[in-house]
Every structure is written in structure tokens, then in C-alpha cells.
Amino acid sequence: MRLTLKIWRQENAQAKGAMVTYPIDNISPDMSFLEMMDVLNKELIEKGESPVAFDHDCREGICGMCSMFINGEAHGPDRNVTTCQLHMRKFKDGDTIHIEPFRAKAFPVIRDLVIDRSAFDRIQHAGGFISVNTSGNTQDANAIPISKHAADTAMDAAACIGCGACVATCKNSSAMLFVGAKVSQFALLPQGKVEAADRVQHMVDQMDLEGFGNCTNTGACEVECPKGISLENIARMNRELLKAKLF
């Protein structure tokens, strides 16, 4: 395949960025998108130019490190995949592909396509845990039966990889799908109920502090989420927050 890439280049957080055009040839449809980027970078390096910086690590869709806004969509045109699982067979010979970083006020660009998502970590520091010591002096795991339904729904929420596609997709740069998923995982399990009220308030407060926007229910985040995290989690978070404030 022969392609034209238009890629966001920005030297560092302070620099002004711009789209730069790179033609590329001999791309196999079986390559992953990031392998295509590897080919480009190898060419750039050997030409003495600076390679395109992008985040990536596991390359199997679970670490949440890769990002990229490809042709206007977080993680590109395919559904339920991260950029590293996107394959070039989803594109056509001769295509022009626009590649940008995830954009949000709370996710400043570090370099090119690399962004700073530490705001997500700080939201988790505020309450994304169950306050239990790791000494091992807990009760037997089977002492609290949990209905299969609750366990499965909690697992669906817990599948979030923290990539930030929801924020990048949302016109308001809202992080509610991310926060809702974590709040839900714990709110659905008996272990998490004890401090549910404090948790949701602390996490939402931190989320607002970080500069994420509000939710206006367009549902775009759910569509672009590589792990199919459901909007129900936002509703559940709002319910938990309301409960916490009322009672």
C-alpha cells in the first residue's frame, strides 16, 4: 500500500505544533498501525530526521498506553480496538491518514503524539481504591458471596484501560466514562460499598479540579471506547453522587 500521512509534530509542551506530510510506501495490509509507524520512523531516523514520538507498550490492547486520534477518531476507524490493534487492512491503497494526539486541556502534549495523562492517576489517588491493608489478614475470599451478575457487571466496568479515548472524543473533554467505570466497579461490589459515598465525592472533586468538562449525554465516548465501557457507568456514578450528597 502507498499512503500519505499527515502527522502532528510538536517538539515539546511549550512549542507550537503543526501538521507535517509524509508519503509512505510498501505498507502491508497485515501490519498493525503502529508497525506502519515503525516503518516511517525507521525511514526518518536513517534520513537523519527526528522520528515521530508516540506512546505504546504492550501492543496487545491492554496497557492503555497508545493513543492517537486517527482521521478524527480516537484509536482510528475500527471498533473495540486500541491503535496498536488497528490493522492497515482497514485502510485503502492511496488513502491520506490524519494522525493527531488525543486533545484535551487536561492532557497536555509532551511531544508529537505523546500526551500527559497523569490527571487520570490523580483522580485515582483521590479515591480509586478500597481502604484495606495489604497485610493479608482479610477474611476468606468465599466468605462474601457475590452474585454472578454483580461480579460480571463490576468486571465489565473494571475492563477500562485508562487510555483517555473517552476524553479525547468528548466535545466537552469530559472524563465521566473513565471515572464512572471505576466508581461503578467498587459500587457494585459489597467490599466497595462501605466507603462508596466518600469515594465518589473525592473522585468527582478531583476530576473537576483537573479541568475535565461536563457530560452532555451525547454518548460519543461509549462508541469510541476500545473496551466497550457502557454509558450506564456514568448514570451509576451520578446516582452514587446524588446518594452521597443527599444521605
Binding site: 501492543r59 497523569s118 492517576d121 484495606v132 495489604t134 462474601i144 467490599q191
Partner: protein
Amino acid sequence: MSTLNSNVPEGPLKDKWTNHKNNIDLVNPVNKRKIDVIVVGTGLAGASASATLAELGYNVKTFCFQDSPRRAHSIAAQGGINAAKNYQGDGDSTHRLFYDTVKGGDYRSREANVYRLAEVSANIIDQCVAQGVPFARDYGGLLDNRSFGGVLVSRTFYAKGQTGQQLLLGAYSAMNRQIGRGKIKMYNRHEMMDLVKVNGKARGIIARNLVTGEIERHSAHAVVIASGGYGNVFFLSTNAMGSNVSAAWKIHRKGAYFANPCFTQIHPTCIPVSGDHQSKLTLMSESLRNDGRIWVPKKLEDAQAIREGRLKPTELAEEDRDYYLERRYPAFGNLVPRDVASRAAKERCDEGYGVNATGDAVYLDFAASIQRYGTEQAHVRGLDENDGALVKKLGKEVIKAKYGNLFQMYYKIVDQDPYETPMMIYPAVHYTMGGVWVDYNLMTTIPGCFAIGEANFSDHGANRLGASALMQGLADGYFVLPYTIGDYLSDDIRTGPISTESPEFDQAEAEVKAQIDAFVNNKGTKSVDHFHRKLGKIMWNQCGMSRNAVGLQKAIKDIQELREDFYKDVLVPGSANEFNEELAKAGRVADFLELGELFAKDALERTESCGGHFREESQTPEGEALRDDVNFAFVSAWEYTGKPSEAVLHKEELKYENIELKTRSYK
């Protein structure tokens, strides 16, 4: 050559850990606040250790190269975690888990460590459930189990196909609680560049901020290395792109012995290599072998027709298929340990029975399970069990509930639907049993420097059983290291803060900066990946699933030449004071180029076959691995002397007092 002391406590096996805990020195809570501990790496071992150490009261500084601790590669573990809970009532016990692990490791692990691992395993599950890890449950609300290779019980706990993710997020949440309290200071996007020793003790590290390029000094009373394994020495592996040996290798260069580097696990069920552009390999969880049957065509002409696209696997009649694992190993069938399954796949492909275009693939087929589950579901729901289409539909639903994410992953990568046609799989490098040598307290040969999780060598011998890596990572981090480190630190309560203004820190920093400058100013012609791929080819061809003396000698020579070429001709663009991934990669590959040589040397000296280490010169007439307990019942711990192939061997004799040494049989 000297003999190493593993500091295993006296007394009967089952009382060793309890007695040891009762007898080691403790640090009182007030004094813990005066002690700093550095943890490098935030996978299961590093994250759990950081959380527990902080909770105990130590000041913890934790480093990871990713942008968040939650992204360490433990996140990608799929299948599950073992624990001797015996919830299924199928005869499991601490002793059986211990026995299975030692046997699975082909009798090359340390008895006392493995027993302790089995002993604390049940506690891990309790701990994780209390933290909100959403393990799979049955309809009664109790925890569900599945079985893994090399064992005859169901002791594996799981969270869909994302067990590693859920366990790591659990440990990450425990860390978050301590970060929020200020007890852990987290350094994301930082790489450890070297260890700093003061008066022979580990007293800090030099780190590089990967965003700004700044070189930083960090001091502590002890340093814990939890940086994972070195599978990426093969370039292609199931490890993450950034997984590296550097932290472990740096401490090796400073005096920590490196044990059994040649013990590498080649996992049998990975998606085969598709072309030269390949950057990494993707695992298909071993749990799939619960329901998938592995086969190749019985006739060479059928295999050829399949390779050329003239025949579909689904068209091949049952009697024309060779379910070679079931044929060779009737007792364990498709659930033989990983090393056995991998070698068997290679053997069939080498004989010409491979099924993809490259000839390096076998089938993993779910049709029989879909049929069996579908029939069962039809029966439960009172539907027609003879309706083929209905049974298939119901069966697919069951398989989807169990392995949905894995099937989706396969479909996205290969572009074939594994519900309709069998998966193609082939072995790939997955895990390294070898690693930094540690004693019973998980301390390396450098006082104050500890190694935990995959970074150390201690528990899996020459082959690791499935679902045991997660168990070991969390056991080391939550329940072992936090106790044993106290014994060492109890001598440090009067030391006070360690200064970073000392000749030792000056020197370590100067050396780090010199290496970085050398890379940036080298201005060669080839990218770092060029050399890494070449190293990977040497490793896979000469040090892969099957090894011999001639090949290993050649590997040592080839790696030496490649290393020389690397320093002459590597091209690292950009500067030292910026975000520069190529520069980070150059440092990692430089260390892989040394480790690879030691790896080959270790494989050359161990002329027996055991576990994942198969020497062609040492096999039975049926082609099974032939162990040599008379000459090789020891751990090879290598001391760095400047040139990897001239490393000095130290032996730790392995004594089996509770298990009889015998030939592993899964027939």
C-alpha cells in the same frame, strides 16, 4: 567457583517460613518513618511491594518507565492466578501446589522458596477479593476456577481473560491509597540508569527523567528491583515493547549474580509470525487449552494443501487429524506443561506438518467444545439436542463468555473467525525463569539490593507452570519482601538520611552521562531496532527451543561481533535533554547485547536438557528431554567480570529433601 549460601532457615519445610518470620529482626513503626526504600518497576511485584512497604511505614520511592504504574506489563497476563484454596474439593493442598511447581520446573527450583510460595498463595486470593478484584464467580456467588497445564486440579482463579489487568489494578489501587497519603512518591516516565553502592551496600539509583532527559540522583536505605523479565532479548516476544533487562543488568554489573539466564519459557500458544515487519507477538492464553484441541494433519499432502490454500481445516475428516498431544501424552493431553507443548509443536512443524504459509503453525480447535457445551446447554434449557445449528449457537455463546476477548483479539490480528475455523498458533518467547540470584530473603549478592517477581530466579526452576507468575509476583510483593527486608533494615535505624552528595553518586552519574553522550554523538548509520532485530534472530535460531554446542558457540561469537558493530554504527537521533525514545532504546539494547552472550554461555555449559532448556545432545530415544541430576542439580549463578562470556560461575546446590527427584512424565 564458590558455593552460594541461600540462607534457607533450618527446620521442617512446612515450618520454615513461620519460624523465620518469628525470628527475624523487626523495625519499629517510629523507625520505619526514618527509612527510605526505592522500588524499580510497578508490575505485580513492584506495585504490591510499594503498597505494602508504604503501609508498614517506610518512605517509598517508586519508579516506572511507563506514563502510569498501571501500565506495567503484568497488565497483559490473561489466564489466571493459582492458589491452593481447594475450593473445588478436588484434592488440592499447599503440598500439591508445591509439588506441582517443583515438578513443573523440572526440579531446578529451590524447595523452601516454592513451599513458601504455595503457603501464601491462598492469602493472595483473600487479599485481592478484599481489594475489589472482580474474579469470576459461579451462580452461587462463590469463586470459580479453571485448570491450567501440568496439573490435575482446578486451582486457577480468573477474571475473564484479563486476570493480570485486574490484579495489577488492585495493586495499583493499593498504591494509589498510599500515594494519596504521601507515603509513596511516584516517579512515572523515569528509567533507572544505574545502582549506586556506598561501602558495598545498595544506597540509591541514578534515574533519567524520560520527558526532560534530566539525570537524577535518588538515595535510599535499600533498593528493590522489580523490573520483570528479559524475554525481549529475542526482539520478538509476548513482552511489551519497553520491557527490558536494564535494571537487572545494571545491578549484575555492580555485583549481583545472575542465575540460570538460559531458562526461558517459550509459550506454546501464540499467534504465529506473519512477516518481517512484526514488532511483537501476541499470546493466546493457556486457558484456551482447557477447551481447545491441538492438531495438525496426519498426512503430509494434506498439510501442503492447507498451506497452499487448497484445503480448509474444517474440511479435513476426524481420522485425518493428528491430535499429537493427546496421542503422545494421554494422561495430560492438551494440558501438558508449556515446554512440552512447545517442543511438540516445533517437532511436528519441523517434520513438515505446519499449517500456515510459513509452515510454522499448528491448529487450536474449539469445534469439539462448542459442540459439547451446546449440547449441554440445549439439555439444560430443554431444547432439541439434535438441532445442529442451535447446538452450535448455544455452544458459541458459552465459549464467548469464557474467552470472548481472546477470540476478538485473534480475529482483529489474523482476520479469521476462530468460532468458525481453528486458530493457528505457534510457540513464542513469553517468560524468563532465570534472573537475578536471590537468597531466601529475596536479597541479591549486593547487601541491601533485593529482586522480586520475574526479575529474580527463585521459584520456577527450568519451566514455569501457567498462572504461577501472577502468584509469585504478588506473593513476593505483598507477603514476603515486606517482612524479609525488615531484617536487613533493622541495622539501619541509626543511619539517618543517605546523602546524594558523595563520590559514589558523582561517579555513577558521570558514567551514566558518558554513555548517553556516547550514543547521541555516535552518528552511525543504523537504527537501534536494526541491531535489536539482528540480536533477536541470533537468539531465536541458536538459543531458542532447541540448542546445541555448535550453535551456542556461534551465538557467543555472533553476539560479540554484533555488539562491536552496535557501538560503532548505531544512530541515535536527537539530543540527551529531551523526550527521546531512541536514546532510551539504545541503552536497553546495549544491555541485551551483553545479556545475550551470558545467556548463550549458560546454555552452553548446561549440557543437560531440563524444562525450557533443551540440549539436542541430551534427549531420550523418544525425543523427550533428558535431565542429568548427577551433574546439574544446581543453580548457575554468574558473576560479572567485564566480558559476559568470561563470567565466573558460582553454584547453589539444589537439595531435594521433601520431594523425590524423578523423571518428569506427563504420559
